[in-house]
Symmetry: C2
Subunit: 547 residues, 2 copies
């Protein structure tokens, strides 16, 4: 392919990068005071989500430059190309059509769409079969628990959705096992009854090491409990393209739901990989989840850049990371049921854009994807917020805030809302040394002591943050939220010139892992290994229990 | 106080900072090949922990410079001063004596130590009373479940320890509630029976907003279930210094265990804040946990710098963050039961060293504490490792690896070990474009296609990482591990000139939170608030259910 245009070659970016410090260091609190319409103008709304970026360290000229950049990079056309199924994953020769998985119509993708619809129908049947108690285990008991075994994209998405939508939870409980550490599976199975447990093995290739290892252990657990090999089909479904391997495992074709090579793992929660969520919350809620994402898709390909949520979030990422130099991005959901959101977004963004070559394979001369991290508010306020407020590093924040609670405990939820708005405001306004002195004087601290303490209480403020709100967290707004970050990731990848849909960097570790596993198994000499790895292998041998 | 010496004013640091790129960009794989003794020399062992830093991008001259820096900064004397109770928390006029909480003798701290011993004895009595079934609830049932209500340091430490030591778990299950989001408490209480549940309210001031809100809701839950106010003492303990407030809540003095102002929240798991852990794993295991930490304390004040684990980890932090310019630090425990370790270390390090003024209140002219993040391996391999291997940002890693498993599933654990060593090696060796071409040719990929793909498979390697191993994860090694990171944090703070024991940056958010809560409660006009915050308050009002 022809090399994509570099970010640094775009005139709009060059102009942004040459902004004077007075523009990039502007005092956001003063901007807001001088022009309160900013609070209204720096917002956008779509699919039940409201973005407020008035506290970003950005003024109208910076914003205009970013919008110009989006036009130069033709983001609206790129969005359309993504949804139309152009082969944007060029290294693997595929489109990235996760949007088709939630589409109501197939616009131009008729063959693929009919497969999607057929699979949706099979998902619906399985979900209803299990939820209605028709699916029975080897002893005739109905299924009460489903364990999803998968890792990465086959785990983080379904896990997040099931947890976030737990107010919509039905009778069948869904559990998630990912880690190859045997403790993960063991702890989960301890609470379950084999006779009423069903496993979903999620692995596109049916070859993922962790998933297969856990799947085989689960199979063993059932056989030990009294199930026969012939009865395994009552307890196992597979989400895979490798029907032969699933059959070898004991899962017949009727129990296998397909994936397609045009769905990346981290974009797959909308596919049969989401079956555990559909079971957990019921089919109707799952379709609302898909519809919420589709509403965001439609917004993405139709809204003007300046009102386009994914594009705005992406432009803010470029602004914070490339123009202002931040190396990380913080996501703070002020809702305990979204506590897995940072983990999900970590994979989505860091696996998609943690790359140093362009889609054409040329070295990129600038920083790309930042480290994404975070936790559920208000937890971080008693932990890492110290660094957000007073550390030396710029950490731009996205607050995510449902405005109401499903718990009925609205007085307590009001405190959560107040805390979220307070953190957002405190990051912006900071506290000057003079204000600190005033505060100390107000507490009756003697002047000399106040002067000693004030520098420690001083906070620079002016720290960029956005607030994404929704009236309530429900299947539709959750779908929209995840699709929002998917498309933001795509837009940033496009601006950086990256293919956001491959992940070559995870290959080498797997290869070396297989080599080392082989050496450990046979007490090999570790030919070709470095001296430090050899020494660690030796330490493992010395520590393991003697048989 | 006199201003501490700046890092940049130290001759050893100036020399490190002037190293040529050939020294800071050295090829670690080549270094190891040229001198395999490096694998032995770049290690240190103490208190059951083994540190291997042979894969750090550091050579003998860099290491010598770092050791020189430690001597110039007098780290051994600072360590001794910390443990001797010098008033190192100068802004609050206190020592930081968490080491006394795990000490076997009081060396010079007789009065404080006798209080510590008395409290330990009361902890032991409570733990044994609850574990032996002597403690009974309002209806006469024995206590089967303990819920710790605390946040930040009153939550992360005990939660981590209970989870990490779950193979040692006794009959009474411990749960943790932290978030002011009502869903956190509600989800926990759903599974519990009020008649057999005991709550521990952990709040030094007995004024922490989240903790009090949850405590009052728990109190209400018990009263609704049929307990009388007079029976609340059968269901509540408090860890606090505010006996009056606890008494108002309904917790008599006999049910209160003390804290002291010389214990910071993030250093408090060794105090009565750890009571829930002592209940979960039993008193004997808890004392082993303390003893493991004390072994690290003794190592810290006695081992020479070059063999001193906390000092070495701290010097590596300075090397990676200040000399090489990394902005973050990744911790990857390859043990599922340590999955909360990154959260714990996030608070420990970012709250301690996320500061931009020196202990004397002067602005620091260099970067201080990095963003710390991570997850349990192998989860990240299917997620953010893409960025670790191929992203544009330097992310130094600490791998933490217990060499054996408690699960008995040793074949599966072997895979975990192999994966950990493989990731550590892959980060170092990387893959050149030529190696990628070879690999592709080996798979029969045609040359033109291989040439197109090779740049995407190329990995720069040379990414700094350390491996910390222990023969097994048990109370003693866990105690040593946490104490190791505590002292590392202290040493880095000393090198940066920071007071690691205060946290002034969390104050302003609390104040603004109280203001906003007041405004929300009375539908106030938000006097003095910025326009963006006002708009968000308005959105909340519009969304909340009408009463």
């Amino acid at each position: 392919m022809t090399a994509p245009t570099l970010l640094t070659d775009r005139p709009a970016y060059q102009q942004l990068a040459s902004l004077t410090p007075s523009q990039t260091q502007l005092d956001v609190t003063a901007e807001l005071a001088a022009d309160p319409t900013r609070a209204e103008r720096y917002t956008a709304t779509a699919a039940g989500l409201h973005l407020d970026y008035a506290k970003q360290r950005l003024d109208d000229s910076g914003l205009a430059g970013l919008l110009q950049l989006a036009e130069e990079a033709d983001l609206p056309a790129r969005a359309a190309a993504l949804l139309a199924g152009e082969e944007l994953n060029n290294t693997e020769g595929r489109p990235a059509l996760h949007s088709l998985l939630r589409a109501a119509s197939g616009s131009g993708q008729d063959e693929r769409f009919s497969e999607v619809c057929a699979t949706r129908e099979r998902m619906r049947q399985w979900a209803e079969r299990i939820n209605s108690g028709q699916q029975r285990g080897y002893s005739g008991q109905t299924i009460t628990d489903v364990v999803n075994i998968g890792i990465g994209g086959s785990d983080l998405g379904p896990r997040l959705v099931t947890e976030a939508l737990h107010p919509f939870q039905g009778l069948v409980a869904c559990h998630y096992v990912a880690n190859v550490d045997p403790a993960d599976l063991q702890d989960t199975l301890l609470q379950l009854d084999p006779a009423s447990t069903l496993f979903i093995i999620c692995s596109k290739s049916f070859r993922t090491e962790e998933t297969l290892t856990n799947g085989l252990a689960a199979r063993q657990w059932l056989l030990m409990a009294g199930a026969t090999e012939a009865e395994l089909d009552k307890h196992f479904l597979a989400i895979t393209t490798n029907l032969a391997a699933a059959a070898d495992f004991g899962i017949p074709e009727d129990n296998c739901l397909p994936l397609w090579d045009w769905v990346g793992g981290r974009y797959s929660v909308w596919s049969a990989v989401g079956l555990s969520c559909a079971i957990a919350v019921g089919w109707d809620h799952f379709t609302e989840f898909l519809a919420g994402a589709e509403a965001m898709d439609q917004h993405f390909i139709s809204a003007p850049v300046g009102q386009n949520l994914p594009m705005l979030l992406s432009l803010l990422e470029i602004w914070n990371c490339n123009v202002l130099g931040a190396g990380n991005h913080v996501v703070l959901p002020y809702d305990n049921s979204l506590q897995k959101l940072p983990d999900f977004l970590q994979q989505l963004t860091m696996e998609s854009n943690g790359k140093q070559v362009s889609a054409a394979g040329t070295q990129l001369p600038y920083q790309t994807g930042p480290v994404l991290w975070g936790s559920a508010g208000t937890m971080g306020q008693h932990s890492f917020h110290q660094l957000l407020h007073q550390g030396t590093r710029d950490c731009p924040v996205d607050f995510v805030l449902p405005l109401t609670t499903h718990t009925g405990m609205s007085a307590q939820h009001q405190r959560l809302v107040a805390n979220c708005l307070a953190q957002s405001r405190a990051l912006m306004v900071g506290r000057s040394e003079a204000e600190a002195l005033d505060a100390l004087a107000g507490r009756g601290v003697p002047l000399a002591e106040a002067e000693r303490l004030a520098p420690h209480m001083m906070m620079p403020g002016n720290r960029s943050n956005s607030v994404i709100t929704m009236d309530s967290l429900n299947p539709a707004t959750l779908g929209a939220l995840l699709a929002l970050y998917e498309h933001r990731t795509f837009c940033s990848g496009q601006l950086w010139g990256i293919n956001s849909f491959d992940q070559w960097g995870v290959e080498l570790g797997k290869e070396i892992g297989a080599e080392i596993l082989g050496e450990l198994s046979v007490d090999g000499a570790g030919v070709g290994m470095d001296a430090a790895t050899l020494r660690l292998m030796e330490a493992w041998r010395a520590a393991r229990p003697k048989s």
